[in-house]
Symmetry: D2
């Protein structure tokens, strides 16, 4: 009943605080004989590294160097737990001393204290976005399995601070700092970030994820539906406030005759379902959107209370990000990877490996 | 790894097909000495009964009479599993014979067949909305526990086929067929339903749920966050395509200074968080919205394929609902009840009962 | 965290008290397209019916007629939950009125009251051996799957009240009331039962279970080892006080050179391991033994306390069994069936069914 | 469905191979504000260190220095996951090169290969007894919680290679290398070990564990009974072949009038139940016994097969232990600690901590 694990067949357990000595993840249930090494995982981690663009991000540098401590032998997974660790290099918690007795609005400071009755004030502790590094590392291991099935998972920014992408040029995503799929909006996004940042404020955005090549038949009715699991996975990311599948919010104002995806021998004529019918994948692209709130750390003065419940104000100093979006893109990708692999293994069991053996 | 259970401490397992002899739910983990009887559960079921309004619903009558088969002794729960059963009275599956070899667009017919390799064509089988009767019954048992804590969960329709409620008059909800909280929209909603219905089409809508009195501290970081679990719970309802918490979709275009809920000794000054910070309840009202797609069964002709993969067309006859909304309102309520009780018990264990004993 | 479910991939949840209206089980995770009907399950239940022999059993007659309420369509499983119900016909709880305020030694009366703070005194309530009928029914469904793999699970009595079987004539098991595999001990067992019964006392015994045809590779290190899961499964049966695998207790006084099972291209030269090495099946017969305590209900006077904690004495009247052994034999068989099927599905997933399809 | 986690409310996940860079455990669910530091855990680990006595153990030195990587802040647990790591210092896997293509009898070599299709031949890999270091470390954290409840868990050797302890002098346990509770058998045990060792053979034994101060009411009927969970926990230790609760094996040949523990206002008159009735603790001492097979690595020649299935022989060289018993004693203790804490938290939830707060 504690909540630091995700998945049933491909089960990950993450641990570590933002300012402790290290953070990591244990992956239990990875099939054997999947090729895996540190650089494959490192590539995924590098994608989320802050400070890349210099525009929207803090100057804090996190090398996020991953180490494999178990579960891999001579370049292949063995079927035993894979333990990944990332040491925290730049963990000056003294910067947070002024926050020791006061709760930041929009953060988990207050609720963690309400729940646990103890205050680890160092940079958000376990509630820090830094926790997601472990998710991204685990997601890379998941992708190593998806590679065998030809499944691809792509995440990108479709809105940032009200600037909305109109195109879906997936090849352009990795060519811009915002992971936007539309060359026409990058300048506007950068402009918006600068504006907001200079006013000491912050913005949110929308991240879309698409999974291609997922076979029909994944998902477990009636509660562990594929869309239900995706919703949980995405909503478990710190700043997400809404999750959409396929047509999403728009579905509620459509007619049945508009929304239903007609079926032909060559496939569906539309994809309002987002690749999922009655909680089970239908073979079409899976489409999930995450609506992300603005970063809670702003340098404008806000009302709050201290640990004794007395009224006070707070101005969160430091050079914080104006938007979490570029960092959340790889996290959305990781969570969708984890959900799909988990359901692949729920469906196929460890024989997944035997099937690969049979194939070649 | 099968998916017919929900919850960890208050665990429910539902079973039954729409046209089998019965359906039901087993509740494992209900604390002992909670007052419970059949009429308390029946009241919740009656709320979802179709045919009440005569406007939007099918003429099929389901008495949905619930029976308690175990776990209750002399009017109180005993701590052992509570088995609830509802017999299907009106289960003429012959009406579905024409669907035997063809997949209805927008339904789970195709994906269930892809997953299980077997076709139970009788009215949607397990994927039928009828399955939710078991959820509502279980939700009533959950409420019997919430009653002890003074927690109230209210669901209502905030949009139907594009007609949007502007007010939140909670006292009005039970006074209209649509469970709308705004007296000014009821006529428009009825008009919209009639229109759509007469054209053989269908509409969706938006259901909002509010939970009052939830203590701060519920929710298990980092994956089993309260909002993540709510998202899963709500998305597991058949027709839901998007879930919002608090400000939801709007959060993605707000500024940090707008979105952050400032804190005072008397509570939060706003509730964009929807009562949840960093996945843990903050003591404020919990607010969840479900976006529901239009009903998939429409009498307009649609393209589809048969069980051999050949192109064909389908017109789903019968007197179907134009909208699932009035039926989904109590289901959203039930799912939120289940999530909150589950997290109460994760937090407090079975001693929850001992505390009650101590109170007198 | 409640405890009425067993298994992960083939998950059963049992419910029902001995003197309630019914008891049953919901099976979630049964693969689709397994042939199944009520008479197949009924056969397993009939084996545990009391009163067959007239020697050791109570005169209470339980028809234990099973009904399938869901999950089976036209003679085959569909992949959806299978709900089985058995109505209690002969449930005169008034016979237990005298026990209302007193705790029977050796029973769960006291501990259930300590745990739940409520007393359901009707014949043991949920702690009654009657609960195992649901296990046996679920075990039969498990066997329907094992049939496809050519796996056979056989249970028999190897000791009763100190009378020990020397032979393992498996064909003889069903030819005697005690399910003993040794024709030479049946008369002695019957004699022993009569003796003990006439003195108002009771006896225990030992049940051995052998599983033939289990493929190598089942079991999940390091905690969900196949032997660990079998130990839990068997120890969860009410009266069991010890569980042995293979050489079992004897292993602790053997030499390594005696105990190790040498390996040849044709298989192992001995089976001290009981078919399991490092928690994983090795392809040899799996061998498990359960040591069962004497039935706690005896007509001799015993010291006890009442619900107020005051000293008193009790004489449990009625015509109770002298030994639970003949009833526990099918329960051991059921539990081993459940463990093996669960691990088959953990290993192979739901594709287990697709493999069958491929085979023809 | 992978198997490297144990517990539901106090959930541990262990990882690491005997000859990898490190091994460890992640503990999820530890209540907040429990005093904890590395030296407390180190004490428990030191108890299992080999080479202490010089009699029965290998000369391999494992410092087993534990590091806390998360979940503890300023000397107290925070409620977040506790990650413990032990680096492997002495991991010369080259010593195992000769075993690369051959399966050792009595070990998991063959079954791991059957299951995973890959061979990590370095010293048993994940199946090595070294894995239990993580269990002992986690058990120490569990004990930090049990300390708050005044619960004590003591393990000791009651038989070694046929030499059986007659006394239970618990104060003597830590005064002898074998953890025997009987001063009169230590010399005989030592003699037995020397004998067996010089002949290149090995022996097993019996470890008994007693838990004092466990409150009545723990255990979750009907499958997660306290004795069922203990049986799984103990049987999951590598070399264990049988588990007994209370009277255990003897129960099967006792009369009901002998076995039943009579109840008085001052407690039970005997403890054949081993502190558990109907799967729920009764407040008396919990008593569990583990029967341990002889160590499988012996220097006598044995028949086996190689990775191609061809007949061969093997002589396992090196200076192996003659008995695993002294090492298994702290592991049994750890597993019983884990089961009890898990059930305490299942019963009391995280409020366990609030209760402590209330107390002082």
């Amino acid at each position: 009943m504690p909540g630091n694990s995700f998945g049933q067949s491909f089960k990950i357990t993450t641990w570590g605080e933002s300012h402790g000595p290290a953070l990591g993840v244990v992956i239990d249930g990875c099939p054997p004989r999947i090729p895996l090494n540190e650089s494959y995982i490192q590539d995924a981690l590098d994608k989320r590294r802050p400070g890349k663009g210099g525009v929207a991000e803090t100057t804090r540098k996190e090398p996020d160097k991953v180490h494999i401590l178990s579960g891999v032998f001579e370049g292949f997974t063995t079927g035993t737990p894979i333990s990944l660790i990332i040491y925290n290099k730049d963990a000056k918690s003294s910067a947070y001393d002024s926050l020791k007795d006061v709760f930041r609005p929009g953060h988990g400071d207050l609720t963690y204290y309400e729940k646990y009755g103890i205050r680890d004030h160092r940079g958000g502790g376990r509630a820090s976005g830094r926790e997601t590094a472990a998710r991204v590392a685990a997601g890379a291991v998941a992708q190593a399995i998806l590679d065998k099935f030809g499944i691809e998972v792509i995440s990108y920014t479709v809105a940032l601070g009200g600037v909305v992408a109109q195109k879906r040029e997936l090849s352009f995503i990795d060519q811009n700092y915002f992971f936007a799929p539309d060359p026409d909006v990058v300048d506007k996004m950068e402009q918006r970030v600068k504006e907001v940042r200079s006013s000491g404020d912050s913005i949110g955005g929308v991240v879309e994820t698409i999974a291609k090549g997922v076979p029909a038949g994944l998902g477990e009715p009636v509660f562990d539906k594929l869309d239900a699991e995706l919703a949980k996975a995405i909503m478990s990311i710190g700043a997400v406030k809404a999750v959409e599948i396929g047509a999403g919010v728009k579905a509620s104002s459509m007619l049945g005759s508009e929304h239903n995806d007609e079926i032909t021998p060559d496939g569906f004529l539309s994809n309002n379902a987002g690749g999922i019918l009655a909680g089970i994948s239908n073979g079409d692209d899976i489409v999930v959107r995450a609506h992300v709130k603005p970063i809670a750390s702003i340098s404008k003065e806000q009302k709050t209370i201290d640990i004794e419940g007395r009224a006070t104000t707070i101005t969160v100093g430091g050079r914080h990000d104006a938007s979490a979006i570029p960092r959340i893109v790889p996290v959305c990708q990781a969570m969708v990877r984890l959900v799909i692999v988990d359901h692949l293994l729920r469906q196929f069991g460890q024989v997944i490996d035997w099937r690969l053996r049979d194939r070649g």
